[in-house]
Symmetry: C2
Subunit: 351 residues, 2 copies
Amino acid sequence: MQQNFHTLDEILSQPDAWEDVIQRVEKDRNRLNDVFRNEEYEEVLFLGCGSSYYLCLSASRVFANFIGRKSTALPSSELLLYPDIYLKRGKSYLIVPVSRSGETSETVNALSYVRESYRIKSFAISCYEESSLLKESDACLILPRASEKSVVMTKSFTSMLLALELAIALSAEANDYYRELQTLPKLGENIIKRYKSFLEDFVKDLGCEQFVYLGSGPYYGLACEAMLKMKEMANLPCEAYHTLEYIHGPKSTANDKTLVCLLYSADERKWEERFLEELASLGTRNLIECEVSMDRIRKLSDLVVEIKSELSDFARGILYMPPLQLLAFYKAVKRNLNPDRPKNLSQVVTY
Amino acid sequence: MQQNFHTLDEILSQPDAWEDVIQRVEKDRNRLNDVFRNEEYEEVLFLGCGSSYYLCLSASRVFANFIGRKSTALPSSELLLYPDIYLKRGKSYLIVPVSRSGETSETVNALSYVRESYRIKSFAISCYEESSLLKESDACLILPRASEKSVVMTKSFTSMLLALELAIALSAEANDYYRELQTLPKLGENIIKRYKSFLEDFVKDLGCEQFVYLGSGPYYGLACEAMLKMKEMANLPCEAYHTLEYIHGPKSTANDKTLVCLLYSADERKWEERFLEELASLGTRNLIECEVSMDRIRKLSDLVVEIKSELSDFARGILYMPPLQLLAFYKAVKRNLNPDRPKNLSQVVTY
């Protein structure tokens, strides 16, 4: 009989959690309309640790694309250690701290420190109603249905990212984008159904012990997060890069035991296409996620994950995550590791 | 008899190259005074690929600290693939492309594309007098003595970074910082003399096959570059993180075969100190670079590299590089690899 894992439950139940996020944002839209639109701040800083930092990387690209004002994603520790690099006295900032628990020490302390010393407003994203982070924040968006029993973040990652994307869409009055995001739960269910056993089988025959995740623009943060899932669950060496950066040095360790996971964009991007030729010459094994596959993608892939969403690059990103989370989960199980009990880690990092 | 390696020559001759950079900037200071000071641009974008991108990460932190205007470091490919995320029409930018050869396709093409479509000025850093990049640039700083025979960048990395730091110091009228940077060649020679054979011996007994490089603020880009050296020369799995990010997931793969290389700052930073306790609990082997060691650093280190420069954090960074380059070089030699001929790589990436 198959063992039950919280992590697997949480990966598979993501579409439900997304549906809850969508309804929650819709109900609250009058308030959320203004969060990113108001003219009080000159720059937005997305702040987090680990998975939440990677979420920030992706959200800040979405923000810059739709809102157009300056945005930066930072590990919370950077603001703690070097505030003067990132904040200037006299300028005004909107800080967006992201923390599943709302208790991550560096994030709570970074916010608490900068609100005393600089002109900032804050808008926090978290999964719990009561937390130290919320006490420090001016406003917040809480997603209780995205909370998790697992140490490793999966459902909470995609749900908190979706919440930010929806809020950005509202503030930018990007109605098409907002409607696209509302279709994600149905599409996500479909992808999980199509690829779950596929990925389980794929991992069974996969000898790879080194994993590389590549993505550009809004997908770079997602590639980092997928890398962290494999590292946390399956305890293997993994790396993530901006797609084309891989050929500037990191490819030196590529071999036939390397699985390259490429988060491919759909909008026509000449340079990303050229990268496929480069990849073909490396002799790695390849998993490519894309909207719809082309001949040249199929030819060089061991597995193609077709999203088939008909969504824009910026709306489709979240759908790339469940297959990569499942890949890490099944790889861990195959290595006789328990994904619910990752080595060295705890649910909340406080110290 | 010991074999001669270009890479080793270039690592060891860095202080000479730095001296040349210092004189070159000093002679040209009337022109360089204004490069970053002029009010024509609202934001600066540092642009590069691979090592040059990591250089940009470090330079952009130095810039933000001293000049105070907004600065961003980007892989050139990000600007090629997603220009609208990073550039807004109507705003004005200073682009600082960095390329050893001046021929890196993505960097040349990114600059050529954005100068047609956006309001930009550019100031290029390179090691060769004639190049496609210079033809596209409004102004430049060329460092012929920093050019290399090797594929792997060492001397060119530190020299181009030093050139940018000096130019930033001039524009910021940061005279103390400028004078500090002028002392680097002498200090660099001293560090190489003190640690060269130490590191050669250290590697002989080092069983580690996994390397982690950690740094914050201006040291994060340096940690990334040190990571890339080990990967390129010794062909081993390596990772780099903002120091405290390591405890948010990546530490899950830490074990007694992991060497953690920490680029420690000297200015008193409470959170970095707490990180030492965390590190002590992981059972990794540790190499710590610091200004002057303390008891707690010595206790948890297999090797301490003391810089002993009496310089500020922002001036001292470049001195952290030669020991880490030597570590990668000797590790490669010990693995019977030729650091002059890294796997899969070429000197210039064009396509």
